[in-house]
């Protein structure tokens, strides 16, 4: 009993230390999505003007795909764009996009300058569909499985590390099952 009393402070220190150690490794800005493992929200977005394919829930069934939320005014989107392009062109993963609160002309010009790897793009002019997806900061990227369920979400620009460590292994696993 006595000895327990002497160990108690040390024990408390270890517990608090562990809580801080793991707590500080997490990014407080990253908000866990409630939509993980749930079907994508019901939606249908029109295409950008002059194009014929928009984006709707039905497009997200059948294959493992990525949905990238981007905007021409979003600087990190430009930073991640080469990574998205490589994933779509060399990685063989269809990437679709939600163009978030953008002017159509700006979006089209942006795609012309930076390249357009997207299988289809839905124009979300008022940002309502993005809200249904729980988007709170562009860019965001969602991984959708064959059944049309959201399996992973990345907030912020994709980095080679995220692609290598998270997305590619998950795609491989989802394609198997």
């Amino acid at each position: 009993m006595r000895r327990l009393f002497y160990i108690l402070p040390l024990l408390l220190f270890v517990i608090v230390g562990a809580a801080f150690y793991y707590g500080f490794q997490r990014d407080p800005r990253e908000i866990p999505s409630v939509l993980i493992d749930k079907p994508v929200p019901e939606f249908a977005l029109p295409p950008l003007p002059g194009r014929d394919k928009g984006l709707a829930s039905a497009d997200l069934k059948g294959d493992v795909q990525l949905v990238n939320v981007f905007a021409s005014w979003c600087i990190p989107c430009k930073a991640e764009h080469p990574i998205i392009t490589r994933l779509a062109r060399e990685g063989g993963i269809p990437v679709r996009a939600i163009n978030h609160k953008d002017k159509p002309a700006d979006a089209l010009a942006w795609l012309k300058t930076n390249g357009d790897p997207y299988a289809s793009i839905g124009a979300d002019a008022d940002g309502r569909v993005s809200i249904d997806w729980g988007v709170y900061g562009v860019p965001e990227t969602f991984l959708i499985d064959r059944q049309g369920r959201i399996r992973y979400k990345h907030v912020g620009p994709l980095t080679p590390d995220v692609v290598q460590d998270r997305i590619l292994p998950l795609v491989k696993e989802l394609r198997k099952g």
Binding site: I31, V34, L35, K101, G127, R128, I131, Y136, G137
Partner: protein
Amino acid sequence: MKALILALATAALIAAGPAAHAVQPEEVLPDPKMEERAREISKELRCLVCQNQSIDDSNAPLARDLRVIVRERLKAGDSNDQVMGYVTDRYGDYVLLKPPFKATTLLLWVGPFVLFAGGAVAVALYLRRRQGPGGTDTAPLTDDERRRLEALLGKDGV
């Protein structure tokens, strides 16, 4: 003097102005009762961009959109809880500035009380032990001890 009056007048104007919040005139609902409810709900919802402001306080575009959605849901006849549910379905409990009471937040809500109870028990045990079983701090002096004490005190002449 002129400067002082000007400064005081400015201060008075600022103080008399409306409390700082981000709701824009065009967002306000015609029905004041419903607007009141909208404000109440907005104050409970966290702005996801700034995170330490409610959507009622925040000027972020997303906060604005959510304020508009809150008002739309109310106009559609939703109850306050239904509106909250609409937002938490998309953004999770994280958007609630007051965390809900449930299994995952049990520690958060009950933790302080458990710690307090634990402390109270520890203090009670400590006090009881210090007092000893007889109720006094120390055993009374034996006759032998008393004699020795008297001898010592007497020797010093105190």
